[in-house]
Amino acid sequence: MSELSIIEAIRAALVEEMERDPRVMILGMDVGRLGGVFRVTKGLAARFGEQRVADTPLAEASIVGAALGLAIGGMKPVAEIQFLGFTQQAFHQIGPQLARYRFRSRGRYPAHVTIRAPYGGGVRTPEFHADAIESLFVQTPGLKIVAPAFPDDAKGLLLQAIRDPDPVLYLEPQRLYRRIRGPVPNGDHPIPFGVSRMVRQGTDLILIAWSAAVHLCLEAAEALARKGASVAVLDLRTLNPLDVDGLVAAVRDCGKALVVHEAPLTGGFGAEIVATLQEEAYGDLDAPILRVGSRDTPYPPGALEDHFLPTVARVVAAAWATLEY
């Protein structure tokens, strides 16, 4: 067991997997000598050479498209997109190409590619750098989506992502990169996709979240506990595959649920969770499942982000409304 930050956990997974498998390589803007704008890949170019930790030109679509070609050619590329917001520049290479290549080639060419991208608000970044656009990828059959919230999950899920034969979009909570540290088991412990994690037990209400919003929920649950409510927190960990059984079981136990995400409310992945639970666990629900998300506006300049993002206060308020329903 080591105490690592999320950045360190991600780096550990990359290093271990590159040592284990010579076909694993990293590509992206500034990932080489600089080690990436967040220094996630710091030291890797020196260790593995600039061939395997390769800086690319400033062109996201070619990073993803080339990663697919590299995979077809026998590599296992881990592509870094500098910020999730800029996956939009590569959008046509992700859903229609990367995610469908196995299907299109009838299994001949699996797209063994991982895309890593930091995202999420709360750190006063310039425009596009915080956009929580994960829900733009949830209707992309073929693409797995991973969003860890803790150092151990960050490492274990990344190990799994790099090995997974399907393309994986691996979302990194930039707000938490260095803010939290936690125990990470040493050695090779990949974490299977599609298994959510109960990060706080409770009996009255379950808060459902992923990535940085999990920590918001933990704070809110703590605040609610002080007022006497027993509130559980479920960390989804992967959006696709979605742990439908885990969700249904959790709701069955509590009867009430609330989804919290950083993305704007309308069209966010919270809607899918509500729709799924409403279909799969209707009889067990004692109240409507509310959603707390960001406002339905563009991500505002940093000074205003606290009005845009979900806050502990908003989560607590929605939780009370649900508890009192």
Binding site: M25, Q51, R52, T56, P57, A59, A61, S62, V64, G65, A66, A67, L68, G69, L70, A71, I72, G73, G74, M75, P77, H92, Q93, P96, Q97, R102, F103, R104, S105, R106, G107, R108, Y109, P110, P141, G142, K144, D164, P165, D166, G194, N240, P241, L242, V244, D245
Partner: protein, 357 residues
Amino acid sequence: MIEDVRRPGQPAEIRLLDYDGSLLGAAPMGVEKARQAMRLMLLSRATDERFIKLQRMGRVGIYGPVHGQEASVIGSAMALSPARDWMVPASREHLAMHLHGLPLATLYAAYLGRIDHTAVPAGVRLLPRQQAIGAQLPHATGLAWALKLQRLPGAVMVYFGEGAASEGDFHEAANLAGVIGAPLVMVLINNQYAISTPAHRQSAAPNLAARAIGYGFPGVLVDGNDLFAVHAAATEAVERAVAGQGPTLIECRTYRMGFHNTSDNPREYRADSEVEDAAERDPIDRLRLWLTGEGAWSPQVEAEMVAQVTTEIDAAIAEVNTQARPGAEAIFNHVYAELPSRIEQQRRDTVALNEDG
């Protein structure tokens, strides 16, 4: 101070075989190989005819003919070593794909709705056709990069049209290939049209080969209806790639004789006279003249060859006709390595519905 850079540095269009079948330079292949090329070109044209017919009969959805572009398609593909090199097609390079190792029946299966018989066979270094214009270009760059990283011998040849050359994907793929020094041969088939859009509305550049300069590698412009010019340029480009000298862009200037595809009617946007003019530069006619001059061709040889390719096509279609049509579950195959439970449930539902119906 600002000079019109449209003039200097322009590659001239290279031609080795003139309209009348006479040589303008050294022939890059002997008579035997040229006859083989002729056979593939005839097979290509016969495939066009057959699939247009099948489409009219309602047996095929949409088909885009190669008619007119055969020298570009086949002259380039013949420069590859299928056991060593990779091919990344756009969508109109049927016979290049076949030459590179794809059985005709596999090619046709896609048009005839046999999805589970369309996979490129193991060992054949070929990617599937691409319907998103230009999207294959970064894949090709990545594939060439993979060869270089693993020190594998070989080149990657990627096809695309002059329309595709307007997409951002072209630019990003070419620029990245230049930076990497990837063993990539970019074959731009400029058939003068992207659906109805003529090349001069596609770009104001006097030619597209000159774009290579902006990526730091050579570009060459060839008469795309001249099998020899295309083949010579492609051969040299493949050699450069394999020798570690990086990418080459080859613009093949040709002409799309037919419609864009079976849903299109080119009379809505171009004059018959233009097509008639272009017909005089037909790539098959030109090669026929040369072969005839070499004493290696006659109407009888041609008739035999046409009969042969017809038989080949018949056989391939017959083979496809024996293949079972895919069942409902085919849509769930190869979406993931392993279906997530939610989709597995959908698969069961779909199959059940289908059995009911």
